[in-house]
C-alpha cells in the first residue's frame, strides 16, 4: 500500500467515521435530553413550592423565568436533535430506536399544545402535555434500552432485531414516513394558526388612524398640557 492510499483511507475514515460519530453522539445524548425534559415538566409542583417562599417578587420572577426557559428550550432542543429520525439514510444505516420518529412526533404535539393553550394556567392542558411527553419518552426509552443498547443479550435477540432501525428497515422507514406526515400536519396547523392569530391581532391596529393606534394617544392629556 502506497502513502497516497493510506492518506485516502484516513481522509475517508475521518469523513465517514466523523459523520457516524456525530449521529451516535446525538443518539447517546438524546436520553439525557428526554430525561431532563421529563424531570423539569414533572417537577413543576416543587418549583412552585420553592417560588412561594421567595420574600421578594424579583427573586420569584427570576426563579420562574429560569425554570420556564430551561423547560421549554429543552423540549425545542430535544425536538431539533431528534431530527435524525427523519433522515432515511441515517435510519437505514445507523442503529436507532425504531419508534424514535413517533417519540419525536409526540414531542412536537406537546409543543403544539403549549403553543395553542395556556398550559401553566389550565389543569387539563398540563395533563395532556404530560401524556404526550410520557408517551414519547416511553417510545424512545424502551427500544433504546432493550434493543439498541442490548445487542450483547442473546435472549433479547428477537426484540433487538425488531426494534432497531437498521435491522428492521422496512418497518423503520414506514414509521418514519407516518411520523413525518404527522409532523408536517402539526407544523402546517401551527403555521396556519400563527397566520390567523397575527391577522386578528395586528390587522385592526394597522387599519386604525395613526394617532389612535398608540395607547398613550387615547389617554386624556394632563390638565397642565391642555
Amino acid at each position: 500500500m502506497k502513502p497516497d492510499d493510506i492518506a485516502t483511507a484516513i481522509t475517508q475514515a475521518l469523513i465517514q467515521g466523523g459523520s457516524q460519530w456525530v449521529v451516535s453522539t446525538i443518539v447517546a445524548f438524546l436520553p439525557v435530553l428526554w430525561t431532563m425534559t421529563l424531570v423539569l415538566h414533572l417537577g413543576r409542583p416543587y418549583i412552585l413550592r420553592t417560588l412561594r417562599r421567595c420574600g421578594l417578587r424579583l427573586g420569584a420572577d427570576i426563579w420562574w423565568m429560569s425554570y420556564l426557559l430551561m423547560r421549554d428550550a429543552l423540549i425545542v432542543v430535544t425536538f431539533a436533535m431528534s431530527w435524525i429520525f427523519f433522515l432515511p439514510n441515517v435510519v437505514v444505516a445507523a442503529a436507532l430506536p425504531i419508534t424514535g420518529s413517533l417519540a419525536t412526533l409526540c414531542l412536537l404535539l406537546a409543543l403544539a399544545v403549549k403553543l395553542s393553550r395556556r398550559m401553566d394556567d389550565d389543569l387539563q392542558v398540563y395533563r395532556l402535555v404530560t401524556v404526550f411527553l410520557v408517551l414519547g419518552a416511553t417510545l424512545y426509552y424502551v427500544p433504546q434500552v432493550f434493543a439498541v443498547e442490548a445487542t450483547s443479550q442473546s435472549y433479547l435477540a428477537g426484540f433487538v432485531k425488531a426494534f432497531t432501525s437498521n435491522t428492521n428497515q422496512g418497518v423503520a422507514l414506514t414509521l418514519m414516513w407516518i411520523a413525518l406526515a404527522g409532523v408536517a400536519a402539526v407544523v402546517g396547523w401551527m403555521f396556519v394558526r400563527a397566520w390567523i392569530a397575527a391577522s386578528r391581532t395586528m390587522a385592526p391596529h394597522e387599519e386604525l388612524p395613526q394617532p389612535q393606534s398608540t395607547p398613550s394617544s387615547r389617554e386624556p392629556l394632563p390638565n397642565v398640557i391642555q
Partner: protein, 205 residues
C-alpha cells in the same frame, strides 16, 4: 489489506474509541458529582447561617435560590449521567461500579421525595433525602473504590465487566425500580395537574 479495509478499520476505531472515551469521561465525572451534591446537601445549615446575616432581603433570596437550583440540578444531572448503568451493552463492556444503577435509583428517589414532599421545611422529608443520598453514595463509592479502582481478590466481583451476570440482573432490577418510581411521579403529576398546593389540599380533604 485494501484501502477500503483500512478505512473501515479506522472508522471502527474512531467510533468504538469515541464511545468508550465518552463513557469513561462520564464514569470519571460521576464520583466528583456525587461528592459535590452530598457536600451541597449537607452544607444546608451553613447556607442558612449565611442567609441570616444578609441585611438585604434580595441577597438572601438570590443566595437561597442559587443554592437550591445548584443542589437540585446536580441531583438531576447525577440521575441523567447514571443512565449508562441501565444499558446492558455498556455495563458488559466498561469497568463500572456494579451497584451504580441502584445508586442512580436512590438519587431518583431523592427527586421523588422532593416532588411529593418538602425536604426544606419538613424534618421527616429532609431525613428521608439524607438517608437516600447516603445510601446512594455508599452504593456508588464502595464498588468504585474497592472494585474499579483497586486490585483486591474480591475486586472483580464489584466491577460490571468482570461480573456481567450480576451486573445485568442489577441493571434490570434498577430499571424496574426506576419505572415504578417514574410511574408514581407521572401519576402524581396527572393527579395534581402540576399544582404546588395539591398536597395541602389532599391533606385537607
Amino acid at each position: 489489506m485494501s484501502v477500503q479495509d483500512l478505512t473501515n478499520a479506522i472508522i471502527s476505531g474512531i467510533n468504538a474509541g469515541g464511545e468508550q472515551f465518552l463513557e469513561g469521561t462520564l464514569a470519571a465525572v460521576l464520583p466528583i458529582l456525587w461528592l459535590v451534591l452530598i457536600g451541597l446537601h449537607l452544607g444546608r445549615p451553613y447556607i442558612l447561617t449565611m442567609i441570616d446575616r444578609f441585611t438585604l432581603r434580595l441577597g438572601a433570596d438570590l443566595l437561597w435560590l442559587i443554592y437550591v437550583a445548584l443542589r437540585d440540578l446536580l441531583i438531576v444531572s447525577g440521575v441523567i449521567m447514571s443512565f449508562m448503568f441501565f444499558f446492558p451493552d455498556v455495563i458488559m463492556t466498561d469497568a463500572l461500579p456494579i451497584t451504580g444503577g441502584l445508586a442512580a435509583v436512590a438519587l431518583f428517589a431523592v427527586l421523588l421525595v422532593k416532588l411529593t414532599g418538602d425536604p426544606d421545611h419538613s424534618l421527616r422529608d429532609f431525613r428521608r433525602t439524607t438517608v437516600l443520598l447516603g445510601l446512594g453514595a455508599l452504593l456508588y463509592f464502595i464498588p468504585y473504590v474497592l472494585g474499579v479502582q483497586a486490585s483486591f481478590s474480591f475486586s472483580p466481583l464489584l466491577v460490571t465487566n468482570t461480573n456481567p451476570g450480576l451486573a445485568v440482573v442489577l441493571a434490570y432490577v434498577s430499571l424496574a425500580l426506576l419505572a415504578v418510581m417514574g410511574a408514581f411521579a407521572i401519576g402524581y403529576a396527572l393527579k395534581t395537574g402540576g399544582r404546588a398546593e395539591a398536597r395541602e389540599m389532599a391533606s385537607n380533604n
